[in-house]
Symmetry: C2
Subunit: 343 residues, 2 copies
């Protein structure tokens, strides 16, 4: 099966210096892949001249004259940057020329543009962001990670329905275990939206396992496949975990750099420390999917390096190969229609 | 200066088997300290018989016939457990017989009982929970950590006013840097309560440094002394960090236990790994203070061991020595009165 992905080649903190090498690596590794690099031809053409002779039509450039800044307001980007690399990359998905789009650009602008160009699925009020985090059980999906600051119970339920389809498709599991993020496992705890969402989930056909707490993301007492929460809580939680990992990494490094003896110990432990680092490397979990849209958009971390951006492209490949958007569209509309009928 | 602390000796997952040894350790280390162990005399008396001959009147037992269960509803505990070790320990603070109370019991019941017995400060609507977390800069205070699931801007502002006084008193700093937890550092992001709280903080005399993200708790780009958020977000964030630390610890342990070579490396690296573990040991950050009450109550983690519970008692000693409650009472009432006048 051939697949085509559009790349916002100018997006992210490092633009083409990261996106182009990552794209070339992916082309090398997957012979069925076609990539359309979107951005300033004058910048991109010299970077890929050599590779184009190698990959022919599998490596294309689509010119776009503008670039959305990392701190630009979504509304301004939408209004003034109609020929941005971000917008054109999303247009390609809308026009059916690409199966998915990957961007490391400004999250707010990417979300607003994707929503404007691709439109929402029937029955879904808001798009949401889903990604995986490493856990002692392998990994955990979590959504929403920042698209929606205030969510009703109905929104949280919709996130669960969409996330459920994505996890089923990608992880090849029949019935993902879904948890609702709360501040206690007891029924009486939590805010009103979360309590009401729990009722909706209990009455659905989803495999709802109940409330889970923050520690369940990485290392809970019971395995959970998908954790649902509003975007404010999800984003704070995700960033808190990033901060904790960074602090622990720094502390470990400091401990091994303290003096000549600890440095010797570090040398002895080098292969172990390297394997440890690889196992928790956040670059291997880069890439978040926007769900709720009529098309596939993957957001990479803005500060992604080549390995991290490559991970995001590979995530797009996986989601296209598993028809994630088609499955979500069918199931979500069916589930929500059924709920409307039975309510 | 002599100081007296009441201990809910039956509270927590392990009750007297943890609280009593921790109490005895503290008495040994601080000759000015008096502890009143509250709980079932029949259980406690044999455990302290020997120590009482050593510490005389510095070690007292106050009988309480009941115990609040770890999963008991706060309302039921308040109604049916009037002679619980938790309630009696708080009563001692109310009666002026103790300067502070430490409990590892059920958080909800402890909060409800403390609020009922001690009453709120004038001008404060809700009590909140504050604690420190380790950071690359040393430590960061964070509040609320779970007492209030929904907070108005005014509540967030009150947390900042109270936390500011605590940090000033304990860390001996004039002007703690206060950040508001949000999902982006830009002004346009965040929910309505957070945006409105930012306005209140900007117009106050507090040293408000702006929005901070989740990663700032442990390892931000700029140092922050106190991070303010609602209790839902704070609790999820705290637990997320706990989960991340646990997963990273497990992964590191696994990497060093993989085979005979990695085990040899672990042996070589043992002193380094030990120092590393000590630096991030969560037991050395155990103990959260309830602020907003007319008396000092310290909550220990329910699963605290002797070292962790000792840390919580020592926190109570520090807060009593620095007159934290008195300072908060004076300053909070003054600040809030001034705001009322000028608004």
């Amino acid at each position: 099966m051939s697949l085509t992905i559009s790349i916002d080649a100018m997006g992210g903190d490092f633009g083409a210096s990261v996106t182009v090498p990552a794209a070339l690596d992916c082309l090398k590794e997957n012979a069925a892949l076609t990539l359309i690099l979107v951005g300033d031809t004058q910048v991109l053409a010299p970077l890929v001249a050599q590779a184009q002779s190698l990959y022919g039509n599998r490596l294309q450039i689509q010119h776009a004259s503008q670039r959305v800044d990392m701190d630009e307001s979504p509304a301004k980007a939408l209004k003034n940057k109609k020929d941005s690399s971000m917008r054109v990359a999303i247009n390609l998905v809308h026009e059916g020329r690409a199966d998915a789009c990957v961007s490391a650009g400004n999250t707010g602008a990417l979300m607003a543009t994707a929503r404007f160009v691709l439109k929402m699925l029937n029955g879904i009020d808001r798009p949401a962001i889903i990604s995986t985090l490493p856990s002692t059980y392998g990994h955990t999906y979590m959504m929403d990670l920042g698209a929606n600051v205030d969510c009703s119970a109905e929104h949280l339920f919709q996130f669960a329905v969409m996330g459920n389809e994505l996890v089923k498709a990608i992880d090849n599991t029949d019935s993902p275990r879904i948890g609702l993020l709360n501040i206690g496992e007891e029924d009486m705890k939590g805010n009103e939206q979360v309590k009401a969402a729990a009722k909706l989930l209990e009455n659905s056909s989803l495999n709802y396992i109940g409330y889970v707490e923050g520690n369940s993301i990485n290392a809970g007492n019971v395995p959970v496949d998908l954790i649902v929460c509003d975007g404010f809580v999800g984003n704070v939680s995700l960033k808190s975990i990033e901060g904790a990992a960074k602090m622990i990494g720094t502390t470990l490094k400091d401990a091994f750099s303290a003096n000549i003896f600890t440095k010797l110990a570090a040398l002895m432990a080098y292969p172990v420390l390297k394997r440890f680092k690889q196992r928790i490397d956040p670059r291997l979990h880069n890439g978040a999917s926007f769900l709720g849209l009529r098309g596939l958009v993957i957001k990479s971390h803005g500060g992604a390096d080549v390995l991290a951006f490559k991970t995001a492209i590979k995530l797009a490949e996986v989601e296209v190969r598993h028809n994630v958007i088609q499955k979500i569209t069918q199931q979500v509309e069916a589930t929500l229609a059924q709920r409307t009928l039975s309510s």
